[in-house]
Symmetry: C2
């Protein structure tokens, strides 16, 4: 299959590798022509996936229209903040579009597949998500993810494009639950990082992950997702790896805040995207509109956007009334 | 309340501290009088919880009958292999007995509360479980656990004995689910450690934890537990901390096996208890009798008791047929 990957960051590059190994004809587009030239010259994405050679068969294409024009299907791996702008140029594409971006749009509350549906109304949409640190995917470490679409035949098609011995793809009809789990977990990961930064240890983090999982599920189910999705790879699986991995940007961002750093200054200095930061705001909006109590999301929002001190936010979480587990 | 803690290991000592801080009158019993004398002399359990001073008010009692005789309630924190022998001496005790031990008895398939019910038929039984590494509990790091009993008034009573700002106690009526989650998670943690020892990375571990969670729940529900218990602190919470913590003995044991160590030799050299080892056998028995497919438990059992090489066990797990998530 002719597949163009839209986004030449770490995750887009790792997925382009997997698709190529599966004998698809793969094109990688990135917004920065100089970066694509670097990749072409070294046959390696040194900025984002250093040390992993890219095959000669991988095409690098700086022209978005050309990348889209030659494709039977698109895989979108953009930061969420660029998602609306770039997908606005996919309006006439009618092949399948697979989003791998984890975010919720500010104000509209849309997941990425919702943005695609608005931008490219003729394109069937799927989402790929799960615990899949890009560096590990690129080096072939065993990984399992979920391909989700309300169109179950499309979910199986996406499964066929990607499925490899070391990149197992399960299917799900619940694209909303898969996307919400992937996006919201970044907010919980910031809170987990804050706990660590405050020196609170692993018991606290495990409790937070447990209560966070319940919170994501409560909000997601209210928004129309299926509860069981939040127990799967795209929910629990992605949540645990993001909260416990040394490599998670969201967790690390939270850890720095827990140690006393100022969120605004951290973001100004950041060279990579911390998806949990915008998601904390859009998720808090969703929860407030829906009237669903989401104390962890609310406290992360208060730390990041209202200047609430980390120690007070966490102690407010810990001091909630003791009651039977829900 | 007069409470005797039966077992002077790391967890028993940490719980004795929490109970003492809550103004209970606490006695600590251990099977080794020399060890108790050491603790009394230094006012510190240097073997198991070094660096944490114990209050003068904590009584150390080498005589089990004396420790039991003065107590209104008992908290049992023994290794599972000693549980039957020691609790056999509690037959006439009729106050509440709280088990904190995580195991399933070989052949009988009983959890620890089941053993207590046989040994002390007059005693109301509860279980305390959740993500609570002893070293962190002892130093007062924020921790949240569950007190479970089919007698909900007893669960609330146990909650009152233990609940502290940094040791939050939730209640649950599902003692079976709480105990099964705590015991079975040690088997999954061994598998998670094996993945690491084989160099497989965090994506693999997250996938394993996710599939493991589903497996525990499937087996537990078949045995009469409630599904939601496995999503709580004693299920998911304890599973994540055990699979991801540097300090988990079960995970570390698995990691060494993944690196090629022989399980029998490891155990012969071990100075601490690896509860997942006996539990792998009893859990596999339970699953086989119940006819519930538990592939992770089966592969851990095969590695530990049938000499199956770690790499082959894990690749058999990874190569299971790709299908919709369940």
């Amino acid at each position: 299959v002719n597949i163009s990957v839209i986004g030449a960051g770490a995750y887009g590059t790792a997925l382009a590798l997997v698709l190529g190994e599966n004998n698809n004809d793969v094109t990688l587009w990135g917004h920065n022509p100089a970066h694509l030239s670097e990749i072409a010259e070294h046959r390696e994405n040194r900025r984002h996936v250093p040390g992993v050679p890219l095959p000669e068969s991988l095409k690098l294409e700086p022209d978005l229209d050309a990348a889209v024009g030659r494709a039977d299907a698109l895989v979108v791996a953009l930061p969420s903040r660029a998602f609306r702008t770039v997908t606005a140029r996919l309006g006439r594409f009618t092949g399948p579009i697979v989003t791998t971006t984890k975010g919720i749009e500010d104000v509209t509350g849309l997941t990425m597949s919702g943005i695609i549906r608005e931008a490219a109304p003729g394109a069937p949409v799927a989402a790929l998500s799960g615990p899949s640190l890009a560096a590990e995917v690129a080096r072939g470490a065993p990984t399992a993810v979920v391909a989700a679409s309300t169109d179950e035949a499309l979910a199986r098609e996406v499964q066929r494009w990607f499925n490899r011995p070391c990149f197992r793809v399960y299917t799900s009809p619940d694209i909303l639950g898969v996307e919400l789990g992937g996006a919201l977990k970044n907010v919980i990961a910031i809170a987990a990082g804050v706990c660590e930064g405050l020196g609170f240890g692993e018991n606290s983090k495990a409790a937070l992950v447990t209560r966070g999982q319940a919170e994501l599920r409560r909000l997601g189910v209210h928004l129309g997702a299926k509860p069981e999705t939040f127990y799967g790879l795209s929910g629990l699986g992605d949540l645990t790896v993001t909260c416990f991995s040394r490599h998670s940007r969201n967790r690390t961002f939270g850890e720095q805040i827990g140690r006393g750093a100022n969120p605004t200054e951290l973001l100004a200095a950041a060279t990579t995207v911390v998806e949990g930061h915008p998601t904390a705001r859009s998720a808090h909006q969703l929860a407030e509109r829906a009237g669903v109590p989401c104390p962890i999301i609310a406290e992360v929002h208060a730390m990041l956007y209202l200047g609430k001190p980390a120690r007070r936010a966490v102690s407010d979480l810990l001091n909630r009334e003791v009651k039977p587990e829900d």
